[in-house]
């Protein structure tokens, strides 16, 4: 019997998902490799120095890693891989940062290694003096820079120097949310918080948690906040996420609204819990000017700094983060792979990966819904074809997007899901308004006043209305209620991030079948199709089932297929 894993010489690995040993192999790989793509048959993993150091920091030996590769590998393992693994794992833990009284000490078991670092100009600048053969004193305030410099020299340091305590904050999770729903951490969320906190010991308190979209990263953040109970700075990617954090804090914890500060372009309030964006931190007046808001890190006695979507942490923030190594820090992300390849900076400045839960596991446990993605192709009506033919490129996309025949398809889909809550998402307002008028459904756009919005959301949640039309802008609003069916009638493929977030909306667990549907309506043979291909690639790479059909009738005709997919 062939084995499930193929180890390649560029350190990528392919894992066959239909193999009986798949699950066992996947669990083994998760400890020392990062998942890159997960299409249906072969998942791609990558071993990076960082993933190996993460493994080493979790106590895994090179022998164990090599052994599990041998156990699952179909072909002989390329010779350099084994060597690389031993080489990198051996480097972890050979250097430690300790705190002794007021001073910070770099310690190594190997006097030669310390000697070598002492004579390395790029590292020497951060060291104050030698304290014997195996120890050196670190210059004040250089903890982060030293760690960064060491990791560039491929020597990850184990940081055991502990943390500065922040100002106290009284915070607890509510058993019943303000919205009136029962609330508690899910088991894996609690585990993650415990692994991170480590009862406040020096081994805990800094690190990165990797969880899939829809797994409730924010909630884990709240759990950790409760465990630490100190003033906290939360850095997020955009203003929408900022508000989402604020709302979640108010909804699910006992903190008072006045203790939460929003530090954004509009409001600049520093409160015990302050939320800001990366954009805010990296703002400066001109290309060479100082970063105006970077001193936010020092503006309060923070006990914890949370970096949401840590894989997007911008490079200028690295420097600020390096400055504040005395603080506890939490990174939250769905992937550790950065577009710029600076994963190791995250490792050195935020901390090692503490937990990594694959989404399939959560799906199996029922924490996130199983998603079925379907692309429905619709013809361009004959009268529009001439208009489309002579239009310029931008207008073409719009004509294709606003294809009137999509309305019929939407109607059929709504009929197909009479008991589900359905979101119809689109980009063009007049199109959305037409759809809204057609189905007599409420519409939410960027202009909808907050009061109306909340009322409509309330109705939607309560099931008084089951179809809700939202514009692309509103679609990013975080208070958007959960739905089990999303129908995208227009809109370009956004960033991977955006798409993941949109999908996250419908991935919340569902009572009953726990299946979510994501429909995309695309006009056949037009420019819209090209964007659809990008979305299709993204979704299939994430491992979602993706179907392409020519009319809604096919869905009705093949209920059996659907049933099988669900079971």
């Amino acid at each position: 019997m062939e084995k499930p894993l193929i180890v390649q010489s560029d350190r990528t690995m392919l894992l066959e998902t239909d193999h009986p040993d798949y699950e066992e192999a996947r669990d083994a790989l998760a400890a020392f490799a990062e998942i890159v793509t997960s299409p249906e048959h072969f998942h791609t993993y990558k071993i990076t120095p960082l993933s190996l150091w993460n493994a080493a920091s979790a106590g895994l030996s090179a022998e164990a890693i090599v052994e599990s590769l041998h156990r699952f590998s179909r072909y002989p393992i390329p010779q350099n891989i084994e060597y690389d693994i031993r080489e990198h794992v051996a480097r972890y833990g050979r250097l430690r940062l300790l705190e002794e009284g007021d001073t910070l000490v770099l310690e190594s078991d190997d006097p030669l290694l310390l000697e070598q670092l002492w004579h390395d100009q790029r590292i020497r600048v951060f060291l104050a003096r030698k304290l014997g053969k195996r120890r050196a004193q670190v210059q004040k305030g250089q903890r982060g820079f030293l760690k960064q410099a060491l990791i560039r020299r491929d020597f990850p340091v184990e940081d055991l120097a502990g943390y500065q305590e922040g100002a106290e904050l009284s915070i607890a999770l509510r058993p019943v949310t303000l919205a009136g729903r029962h609330f508690s951490l899910r088991p894996y969320q609690r585990d993650a918080a415990v692994v991170f906190h480590q009862n406040g010991g020096p081994a805990g308190g800094s690190g990165v948690l990797v969880l899939p979209c829809g797994a409730g990263k924010t909630i884990i953040g709240l759990g950790i906040l409760e465990a630490i109970g100190q003033h906290t700075l939360v850095v997020v990617t955009n203003i929408t996420a900022l508000r989402q954090w604020r709302d979640e804090l108010l909804d699910k914890t006992t903190v008072a609204p006045e203790t939460i500060g929003e530090y954004s372009g509009e409001i600049k309030a520093i409160k015990p819990i302050t939320i800001t964006t990366y954009q805010m931190l990296t703002y400066r007046k001109s290309k060479n000017a100082e970063f105006v808001h970077m001193d936010l890190f020092d503006s309060n006695r923070w006990g914890l700094i949370i970096y949401d979507e840590v894989h997007l942490l911008p490079a200028p923030v690295f420097r600020a983060v390096a400055n504040i190594q005395g603080k506890r820090r939490l990174g939250l992300t769905a992937t550790l792979l950065r577009e710029d390849g600076k994963e190791s900076e995250v490792f050195s400045l935020i901390g090692p990966k503490k937990i990594d839960i694959p989404w399939k596991t959560l799906e199996r446990q029922g924490w996130i819904a199983q998603a079925l993605c379907t692309e429905i192709r619709i013809d361009l009506p004959e009268p529009l074809r001439h208009e489309y033919a002579v239009a310029d490129v931008k207008a073409k996309f719009r004509i294709a997007s606003e294809n009137e025949d999509k309305v019929h398809a939407v109607r059929e889909l709504i009929l197909l899901h009479p008991d589900d809550r359905i979101l119809v998402i689109g980009q063009y307002l007049n199109q959305l308004e037409k759809v809204a008028a057609e189905f007599d459904a409420p519409i939410i756009t960027g202009k909808t006043p907050n009061k109306d919005r909340e009322r409509i959301y309330g109705d939607f949640r309560a099931g008084r209305i089951h179809v809700l039309i939202v514009s692309k802008v509103a679609n990013f609003s975080v208070d958007l209620p959960d739905a089990s069916v999303a129908i995208q009638i227009s809109g370009t493929f956004g960033s991977r991030q955006e798409e993941a977030q949109r999908l996250g909306r419908i991935l919340r667990p569902k009572t009953g079948r726990n299946t979510a549907h994501f429909y995309t309506l695309v006009t056949r043979e037009t420019r819209e199709r090209q964007f659809a291909i990008k979305r299709q690639l993204f979704l299939t790479e994430q491992g979602y089932r993706y179907r392409i059909i020519d009319s809604v009738d096919q869905l009705v005709e093949e209920p059996e297929t659907e049933q099988r997919a669900i079971s």
Partner: protein, 926 residues
């Protein structure tokens, strides 16, 4: 060390333990016997090769190394030197090890007590030396040669070289005394200073040639290539009495003897008079093991990279062919592939490949006619698929056979490909013979051990001088000739690595890229000022090591010079490419993951419409709109692609892929581009509207015919238009893939033989038709074209004759067809005539004019007047005088001249002239 005396001196217990380890059965008598009897019993048995091999193989790798180390230095070493060279950190550890080995009969201690020298020795007994086969690269140390000399010669060396009297009694003491003096840097300097200048010069030459040299070469090296008796005598003395030079291999003719300067002596000199204390490991140690065994971080040692190309070369060859199939690849004047095309192929191949590798594959493809030149374009030959279908092992056999026998590729020439070099390289080494020599040397290597290249080259170079005489010594000015060590480097680090016979261990990938393509200037040149340095191949940063791959080991254990015998039975599980898989996995994200052993013809077929993403253990391909278009352009259809994917896919073909293929297929050909005529043809009038409305294409439009055809300007840039069409989501199909526009505005057409005959026949038919009608229908355009296309193939079937016969058939058919039309017309005509005849009135006025009265056609005044003149009738006209007055008159027109009418006016009784243009109206009067 004498085995017999060693045994006799040993205790019975020790002898019994030796017998035990060697598994030599002691019968009851000898088991109880005393030491001496036991020693005599063991003495012959310990020298038996079978017993020795059995015991030797029971030793651990490290223990075997100790034995080896003793052997290469002649069997014994001073204790202290042994300890250092074996890397024992204390004397105690070494003692324990030696004692343990002693109990197994392998290592012994002995003490020399002589007034010349007192020494403790560790080593193996002399008979074992004969039983241990030393590979050539571990031969050539001073101790080994000194032990081989007789006492007389040793005494000569004492007197002649060291300037001391041989006052010792024992040969062993003399050996070690001479060795110690010679290997001591100061002693060596003293020895060299005492030599005759000519001898010194000869010794330098030997060193410069990597420590080995033929006797003959030293004699002829002077400015005059004449035999010089004095020089000859000096050389003889140098060899027999100096201790600096020994005979490495003796030939039947003394002048062909191969001389060697002991490697430790050479090392001492070349390292700037540093004592040689290299361990066995250092003599042949690979970077890999240095790294793996090191305990401390030593950043100066680069991490190592292991390169192994087993399983890749055939895949790479297929990828090269697939690239040529899909892309226009130019043929250069020298008959090779364009460099720029090759550069585009390199990144598609398996990782870390060079341009030279691609050139090699291309050369094979050209020689094997897997690709053929059509016009100035390379095309994949029709036989490629068949070739691939014969199975990977059969393909690989040919690839290996090609390397073994090809003179087209020569490792001495820095670019490799000799045939397609712009200037034919001169005076190259007999490369096929050298390949055999290298393989023969490789065969002697232990499989699975890493070998340092320099060590290997050192031992091989002198043999090249002997076995391939006449090779031109590379000179700095020599354009093509490279130093033999560079040739061997190219052979190992390129050819044999490419073929997967050996695996390479290098410090980093940049080094690997340079290996094999280095020039003579990277060899330290012979410098008269410092004659004793330099000459060694390669600097430290480009050192590399290699080992035989599994395939290499099997290959060399078979008759490797005869590929047919190596691959006698196929499939052969011991050789690579044994199995063939027929299936791969198609993923929904349009990725195809193919196993390394996918059947090659299938790989080639898939590559026609899929792009290479990565070639590693698995080959990862991706299907995109562009790749599908390329496939469709080469004539594939969606059903063909889906059928292939469906047949090969291990799992059900994903919906996404099927849809993409179908979509592209339906798009493809909706717009056709014709390069020759410069036109765009669309299936759907809407597309025509769309193209007309496009601001980038519109300027190139010359004319539009109907609702489907656009004629383009002559100056239109087709590539730009194609790109723009692609941007609009179309997949323009270029009308003919056998028609290319060249840079100078010419078109090149590729025709099959039958197509050419047909074309000739059609032209010939046109000519025949002209001849028959006697009219110049084609205005002398057909005949010259026909002349140009006709080729006079004397020895083959003449296309002219063939065209002639087809043309005659055409003409026959044409005549038949026209006859039909004439007959039909005649039939129709006859019927009409008959009808008219029957309708004609038999009596009545027969006015010549029948038909309508022209007077009823008011606008045509001129015709009316003409009519009036001919029929002499009166005309009433309304005439405007020049004064502006309009009058009605009746006239009798008599003549029409230009625009004037001459007429008689009956009312006035006079002739007048009227201007036609002022006649407002006219009618027949009366």
């Amino acid at each position: 060390m004498k085995l017999k005396s060693l045994l006799r001196k040993s205790s019975p217990e020790r002898l019994r333990s030796i017998a035990d380890f060697w598994e030599i059965p002691l019968n009851g008598q000898s088991a109880a016997a005393d030491g001496e009897t036991l020693a005599d019993y063991l003495y012959p048995r310990l020298q038996s090769p079978s017993h020795f091999r059995q015991a030797y193989e029971k030793l651990g790798a490290r223990e075997r190394e100790w034995v080896y180390l003793s052997a290469i230095h002649g069997g014994e070493l001073p204790v202290e030197e042994f300890r250092r060279r074996c890397g024992f950190d204390s004397g105690q550890r070494m003692s324990e090890a030696v004692t343990r080995m002693g109990e197994r009969g392998f290592l012994w201690r002995e003490r020399i007590r002589d007034k010349l020298i007192g020494l403790d020795l560790v080593g193996i007994p002399e008979p074992f030396l004969r039983l241990i086969e030393l590979p050539p690269y571990w031969q050539g140390f001073l101790g080994f040669y000194l032990h081989g000399l007789g006492s007389v010669q040793l005494k000569w060396i004492m007197e002649n070289t060291l300037g001391e009297g041989g006052s010792s009694r024992g040969k062993q003491a003399l050996v070690h005394y001479v060795r110690r003096r010679m290997l001591d840097p100061e002693g060596l300097k003293h020895v060299l200073s005492g030599r005759h200048p000519t001898q010194l010069e000869m010794f330098q030459q030997i060193l410069h040639k990597n420590g080995m040299c033929a006797w003959r070469d030293l004699l002829e090296a002077g400015a005059y290539k004449r035999f010089d008796h004095g020089r000859s005598e000096l050389l003889r003395e140098l060899v027999e009495q100096s201790g600096l030079v020994f005979v490495y291999r003796s030939a039947s003719n003394m002048y062909n003897n191969l001389l060697i300067a002991p490697r430790d002596v050479a090392y001492t000199i070349q390292s700037g008079y540093r004592k040689d204390e290299r361990s066995l490991e250092e003599l042949g140690r690979p970077a890999q093991e240095i790294n793996a065994t090191r305990v401390r971080p030593r950043p100066q040692l680069p991490s190592s990279v292991i390169l192994d190309n087993s399983n890749n070369i055939l895949r790479d060859l297929v990828i090269l062919c697939a690239y040529i199939q899909r892309n226009p690849v130019k043929m250069l004047n020298n008959g090779s592939l364009g460099r720029n095309d090759l550069k585009k192929i390199v990144p598609l191949l398996s990782h870390n490949k060079t341009l030279k590798y691609t050139t090699y594959l291309a050369l094979f493809a050209i020689v094997r006619k897997l690709i053929i030149a059509v016009g100035n374009q390379w095309r994949v030959s029709g036989s490629l698929i068949q070739w691939l279908q014969q199975g990977p092992q059969a393909c690989f056999q040919e690839v290996y056979d090609f390397w073994l026998t090809a003179n087209e590729w020569n490792e001495e020439f820095v670019d490799g490909d000799v045939v397609h070099a712009d200037n034919y390289p001169q005076d190259l080494i007999n490369i096929t013979e050298l390949r055999k020599l290298v393989l023969r040397m490789l065969r002697k290597l232990p499989s699975h051990a890493w070998i340092d290249f320099n060590t290997f080259a050192e031992s091989l170079l002198p043999q090249i001088a002997i076995e391939l005489p006449g090779h031109v010594e590379p000179s700095p000015a020599g354009k093509f000739n490279r130093h033999p060590s560079l040739i061997i480097e190219s052979m190992l680090a390129e050819s044999l690595y490419w073929l997967g016979v050996i695996a390479l261990g290098v410090a980093d990938l940049n080094v690997a890229q340079r290996l094999g393509s280095r020039h003579n200037d990277e060899i330290a040149p012979y410098d008269p000022a410092h004659p004793l340095t330099g000459g060694l191949v390669g600097r430290d940063d480009t050192r590399f090591c290699f080992k035989l791959s599994d395939f290499g080991a099997v290959l060399l254990s078979r008759p490797y010079l005869n590929p047919e015998k190596v691959f006698a039975r196929m499939p052969d599980p011991e050789l690579p490419y044994c199995e063939e898989t027929l299936y791969f996995t198609v993923q929904p994200n349009q990725e195809i993951i193919t196993p390394p052993d996918l059947a090659l013809d299938r790989l080639f077929r898939v590559l026609q419409f899929a792009n290479i993403k990565k070639v590693d253990v698995m080959t990862t391909l991706s299907i995109t709109r562009e790749s599908l278009r390329a496939g469709l352009d080469t004539g594939l259809t969606a059903p063909m692609m889906i059928e292939l994917l469906g047949a090969c896919s291990r799992k059900e073909l994903p919906e996404t892929v099927r849809q993409l293929v179908n979509e592209c297929d339906s798009c493809h050909g909706e717009v056709d581009m014709g390069l020759a005529g410069g036109y765009l043809k669309v299936n759907d009038p809407m597309h025509l509207e769309e193209i007309k409305a496009n601001s980038k294409i519109a300027p190139a439009i010359k004319d539009v015919f109907g609702d489907r055809l656009i004629l383009l300007n002559r100056t239109a840039d087709f590539k730009k238009i194609a790109r723009e069409l692609q941007r609009l989501g179309h997949m323009p199909h270029v009308d003919s893939d056998s028609l290319y526009e060249t840079n100078d505005g010419l078109f090149q057409v590729t025709l099959r033989t039958d197509e050419l005959y047909d074309l000739l026949a059609i032209l010939r038919f046109a000519i025949l038709m002209e001849g028959q009608t006697g009219e110049s229908i084609f205005e002398e355009r057909v005949r010259p074209l026909f002349q140009r296309l006709s080729i006079n193939a004397q020895d083959k079937f003449n296309p002219k004759l063939y065209a002639e016969s087809i043309a005659k058939v055409f003409l026959g058919k044409f005549e038949k067809a026209t006859q039909k039309t004439v007959d039909a017309a005649t039939k129709k005509y006859r019927r009409q005539v008959n009808r008219l005849m029957t309708q004609m009135p038999r009596t009545g006025s027969c006015s010549g004019y029948r038909g309508q009265n022209p007077a009823t056609e008011p606008p045509d005044i001129t015709r009316l007047i003409k009519y009036a003149i001919e029929n002499e009738v009166q005309v009433r006209i309304c005439y405007q005088r020049s004064s502006g007055e309009v009058v009605d008159e009746v006239i009798e027109p008599e003549g029409l001249q230009a625009k004037k009418v001459h007429a008689f006016c009956p009312d006035q009784g006079a002739h007048h002239t009227y201007a036609l243009e002022r006649v407002r109206s006219a009618s027949i009067s009366g």
